[in-house]
Amino acid sequence: MAKSKVTTVEEAIAKYCHDGMSVLLPGFVNVGVSEVLIEGLIAAGIKDISVISNNTSVPHRGIGKLVDAGVIKAITCSHIGNNAVTVQKVVDGEINLTFVPQGSLCEKVRAGGAGIGGILTPTGLYTPMMDGKQVVEWDEEAGKFKFLEGEIIPDASKKRFILELPLHADVCFVHAWKADKMGNVVYRRTSRNFNEAFATAGDHVIVEAEQIVEIGELDPDEIMTPGFVVDAVVQGRALTEA
């Protein structure tokens, strides 16, 4: 008998969230963001969190509410331009910011959730994104990669890649359009964005669903995240305005 994982926001936060935790927050600007869980996290007074997200929404919405609340100590993301409050807190040194190119961010988290030791990407070569990272070069003659040491002189003729290491976190907040009571998830349109990859990389995964349906109502072929990676399901709310 399949068990229901439906619970309240308060209970889910109390069970899986703690000060100093790392949290994966999918979403693209305001779409596909778990705003109900974010509000619950703030209400519970959880602080000093490290966020992995693509961006920080717009001021005072979505992830922007966590920024306002001053509970974020570090963010790993690809963009903060939509949120001037985040930019100011980074300038003031309140938030420790690490940029990762968007495609690399996604692959790092996917690797973290898929048991992969890292990924090799050409993205970011000869840019500031290469700093402090290992770079490999394909040696055609030897038929293997070699790690480059010391200063790397740009050379477009060489097949080089940056080694991006996996990312995972203590918790992931997923925003579903529909979820059944055991946590099988369907995303809607572009609110899918990072949710699908991020849902694999949290030690605990909490789903907030706009609609919670009975087990068996979702067609197995339409399920985008299977319920076995999900720990709890809470009632979310529909996006009314992007």
């Binding site: 693209f28 600007v29 305001n30 779409v31 596909g32 693509n54 961006n55 717009v58 993301c77 690809s78 963009h79 903060i80 331009g81 939509n82 930019v87 980074v90 300038v91 940029f99 190119p101 968007q102 495609g103 690399s104 996604c106 692959e107 996917r110 990407t121 050409p122 993205t123 970011g124 070569l125 000869y126 840019t127 500031p128 994104m129 740009p154 477009a156 359009w177 995303y187 809607r188 349109r189 572009t190 609110s191 899918r192 964005n193 990072f194 949710n195 699908e196 990859a197 985008m224 996006l239 009314t240 305005e241 992007a242």
Partner: protein, 228 residues
């Protein structure tokens, strides 16, 4: 748009008009926020493109009309709500960037702080300032089949935006194929930056004077406005 009408285009409209003529019918194109999206206003007759957005969708057609309902879950790369055409598709971010890095996007168009004669692009970070972030730009310029930069010829202070070798932090190395400005259209070649076409009433010498790189100027430079 007739050729006579096109001859009257200025500034960003002229840049968008010419850039749109780099698209082939059926292309999947990724257009940066701002000026690049203007290309859609100037598509040539018979050229239909599919607009990809890195947040996981292909087939965007732009903002809804005032009062028109659309699904708020469909947004473009700036997070703004957009309509989705019949035949459009949504996918998750990791597949979106797989398509991007994997060479499945025909053309990426974006703006620049500075570009150089080698095809290097700087458009995300100004030293000494807090950057907004690169978003998906680094992946896009790395993986797209063609990368086009739309930019004004000079910045507000009159300094050339095209230089011999940029020392700004890069978005991508040797990634640009074409640069389109209101004065000309440029191609990055192994020999250097070639002036391919000039705007109506502009001479190659005038373009060279406002370019910070030595241009290769063929004997017969074409016009940005012609019968395509």
């Amino acid at each position: 748009m007739t050729r006579e009408e096109a001859m009257q285009l200025k500034g960003k409209d002229l840049i968008a008009y010419r850039t749109a003529r780099l698209f082939q019918d059926g292309d999947v194109v990724n257009l940066g926020i701002g000026m690049p999206t203007k290309c859609l206003d100037y598509l040539p007759d018979g050229v239909d493109v599919w607009v990809d957005s890195e947040n996981g969708v292909v087939g965007l057609t732009g903002a809804p009309a005032e009062g028109e309902w659309t699904d708020p879950n469909v947004v473009d790369a700036g997070g703004k709500v957009s309509k989705l055409r019949v035949g459009g598709a949504c996918f998750d971010s990791f597949r979106s960037f797989g398509f991007i890095r994997g060479g499945h996007i025909d053309c990426t168009v974006l703006g620049a702080y500075e570009v150089d004669a080698e095809g290097n692009l700087a458009n995300w970070m100004i030293p000494g300032k807090t950057a907004a972030g690169m978003g998906g730009a680094m992946d896009l310029v790395t993986g797209s089949k063609i990368t086009v930069v739309m930019t004004t010829q000079t910045d507000k202070a009159g300094n050339p935006k095209i230089v011999q070798k940029t020392d700004m932090p890069l978005t991508g190395y040797h990634c640009i194929d074409y640069i389109v400005t209101e004065m000309g259209c440029f191609a990055v070649t192994p020999d250097g930056l070639k002036l391919w076409e000039v705007a109506p009433g502009v001479t190659p010498e005038e373009v060279q004077a406002k370019t910070g790189a030595k241009l290769i100027i063929p004997e017969n430079v074409g016009s940005m406005i012609k019968d395509y």
